[in-house]
Symmetry: C2
Subunit: 228 residues, 2 copies
């Protein structure tokens, strides 16, 4: 016996805007829809909410189904609830965005779903209101990446300062000054400089760094903030 009988009930979906980053730039993981309506069209990865799971759990499940990844950085963007947004039926969708390192994703799984990493600048027409979701996700990503240390989720555990700068340049879509960038990020003292060097992209080799959660907390607790 429910307390709230007599009210309309709805299908609820979660749709995932999955950001990735590599040498080519900022990318989205998109797939060709395998069922009607809009079968064969480009789409975000989605799924329906189940009775026994939270929205956050559903989004994590959908992401894991596609990428094989758990414990990924995810954040709810908003709920999309226009009446005609899905021509198949009335569906309310909670959109989530995720930041992952492309190399961590399970390539076989991704291929099985007929999914592809697409450069953000080249995102095609997507079904329903998915383009609107993507645009809002980028806006949110830009804002948050500028003020919180979430961008690191797009990189491997160990990265060079140049890689880090390229990542921010891809997110913000404009170039940064190398010296000012390094000054700023190093002054915040949230990175740990490793002994190792990366020799892949230069002969000289570049020192590898990793983000240090503890250092970040120290920064915050002394009243400072992260900012690029």
């Amino acid at each position: 016996m429910t307390h709230y009988s007599g009210y309309d009930r709805f299908n609820i979906a979660v749709d995932c805007i999955i950001f990735g980053f590599d040498n080519e730039g900022l990318k989205l993981l998109l797939l060709k829809r395998s069922f009607e309506p809009a079968k064969g069209k480009w789409s975000l990865m989605g799924g329906f909410l189940k009775e026994e799971e939270s929205l956050d759990d559903a989004a994590a499940r959908v992401l894991e189904n596609l990428t094989g990844l758990q414990n990924v950085y995810m954040e709810q963007l908003a709920a999309f609830g226009d009446v005609g947004r899905d021509p198949g039926d009335r569906v309310i969708s909670a959109a989530y965005f995720a930041l992952i390192n492309i190399d961590d994703s399970d390539r076989a799984l991704v291929e099985k779903h007929n999914a592809h990493w697409v450069l953000f600048k080249e995102v095609p027409d997507l079904i329903f209101d998915h383009n609107a979701m993507v645009i809002r996700a980028l806006k949110r990503l830009r804002r948050k990446a500028a003020t919180e240390p979430i961008g690191f989720n797009l990189l491997p555990e160990k990265f060079t300062l140049t890689q880090l700068q390229r990542m921010y340049e891809a997110v913000f879509q404009h170039e940064l000054d190398k010296r000012n960038f390094r000054k700023k990020i190093l002054q915040m003292n949230v990175l740990e400089k490793l002994e190792e060097k990366d020799k892949e992209s230069s002969k000289r080799g570049a020192y590898l760094y990793c983000f240090n959660e503890q250092k970040y907390h120290d920064l915050i607790s002394e009243g400072s903030t992260f900012g690029i």
Copy 2:
């Protein structure tokens, strides 16, 4: 015949975080819940989504039911979807926040709903996850009010610079320097100075201003941004 049969369906609620402002400070419009479960407890104003309306429409309807107001500044905060968030039944709630001028609201309607304007600092324990919604709404309000001209929605059409400053002080919960504040807001050139003076709060009288949408658009289109 629906395309998406076989998936669970859910009640969907909208809950409204209604901000107001007067001489006493920043306030929230809260009500004592008139039905089970949690009857008699403090709560946000809410309602259930109907088949024929969008989430935004539902939020606007719920707000109008309580305040009598239409065309109010409203923005979706997020969807809240934890499994046990509402002990009455599984309900997914889309939280919206609204900014209104307290004097514009229909006092009789507000009283009829057993609703009260409560100082933000004195918000009591609310049902379910409503306190969490309120905290996130304030965070969002602070961020957006600092970078977009939404704070004006908390004031009457015509206001003095002191009123404007008090509003921002109430939102940010810290004092601002009078001269720096006036310099900043006037330099942006988004206010229109009226001939009229307000004589209510001083003998000398203070010039009234109003926000000018056109001037704001001019500011934006020349590449500048609003900021307090």
